[in-house]
Symmetry: C2
Subunit: 215 residues, 2 copies
DNA sequence: ACGACAAGCGGACCTGGGTCCGGTTAGATT
DNA sequence: AATCTAACCGGACCCAGGTCCGCTTGTCGT
């Protein structure tokens, strides 16, 4: 009923680098035509600008299209759907974040003992998603797709690796899912925003959770 | 920007009993006018019937309205929005499930040691949501509302209680959230449906998780 | 019975995401 | 430079969820 859609391109972001989340998805980057690439960039720029000035929730796809001086069809062809656009908007932050725990300084990056890296990972996610709250919330409006996104796969693999390094026994894959469940954007937002739980407490909760496995 | 909406009624279901999920929400049941109650019942019946014959995903609000011989406005006045209707459709199953761990036989109900009840709780949720997959998935299309629903509050309180009974130390509230994170409908569905993990394995994962806290 | 009024009703209408397809164009090939 | 074609473009169009408001009707007090 829902066709796969021609693989969404996601190449070269407005900073010149690759925008896809690397590694995990068997990297496809089918090179856009010059005009298409130009439009893609403008669309992302316009989207970012409008989001900044009135909040992403108050920006329609048509706003973006017409702000970039293109038709609506163009937007959807490029990004597939709203979620796709949001994901690409996030990809810059995502990449930055990813590299910080892949190759950044300890305790987040390599060098520290795995249990400690795991703790740092969670705390960073919590703060990171907090900092870009509306974007993450908007991008996760569609719950089903969340876990198939490269970003999630990536986190899953990373946590799995750290668990293995920490010699945790049990079903690593499921444990990784369980841990990531605690870091779910909407859950954290709920705890922080609606239940009035402090960031410190949420972070402590994460560390406790990690310790139950690595301890 | 979003008004609270006049409190959605949810009273008397088609089996004659109260349909709201009791206890948790400071019980409001503003008694419907006779015609309104009749329409409410018919709407739920029609919705259930259509859902059964073509899958809830292929039933529009208008289908339901016109199948029940009322206007669209009536449907939205009664249930607030699509999610609201879905929730009420689920409420019957939910209630049944709730009473099974509130007052049913052990190990799910009272009588068994808390750790064991907790294990049984998770396994039951997993199977229960599996059995009503499309409904639960449809009802959770809006991720933000999930955790404010009476059903979630209820599970949260129940798990919290069992954790306390089991003398688990730490931040009980957060631990309860973490545990429920593992039982999240969409996560479980993803594991089962897309990642090809067996129900047994998912259940074992739950038991392991519980043991990390109660063990 | 009857009158008043809150509650309910319906369906036209609005909005915004997503699709379609005839016309256009980048850019590779010769 | 001429040509060919796959990719691209635009914006009219469709669909479904959600809102609005003037009209109707159940209910309750007298």
């Amino acid at each position: 009923m829902i066709e796969p859609l021609p693989p969404s391109p996601m190449s070269q972001d407005n900073l010149g680098g690759r925008a896809d989340l690397a590694l995990m998805p068997s990297g496809e980057a089918p090179r856009l035509r010059a005009d298409a690439a130009r439009n893609r960039t403008r669309l992302l720029e316009v989207a970012a600008r409008l989001a900044a000035e009135r909040g992403i929730a108050n920006v329609t796809m048509e706003d973006i299209a017409c702000g970039a001086g293109v038709g609506k069809g163009t937007v959807f062809r490029r990004f597939g759907d709203r979620t796709g656009l949001l994901v690409e908007l996030l990809s810059h932050h995502e990449q930055q974040f990813q590299s910080s725990f892949l190759s950044g300084p300890p305790p987040l990056g390599p060098g520290a003992p795995p249990a400690q890296r795991l703790r740092a990972f969670g705390c960073t996610v919590i703060r990171h998603e907090r900092a870009h709250r509306d974007f993450y919330l908007a991008a996760h409006a569609e719950p089903g797709r969340r876990r198939t996104s490269p970003a999630y796969q990536f986190r899953l693999a990373h946590v799995g690796m750290l668990l293995r390094e920490a010699r945790v026994d049990g079903d690593i894959e499921l444990i990784a899912h369980a841990l990531l469940g605690y870091l779910e954007t909407v859950l954290i937002d709920d705890l922080l925003t609606h239940r009035g739980i402090s960031v410190e407490r949420v972070e402590a909760g994460w560390c406790d959770l990690v310790d139950r496995f690595t301890g």
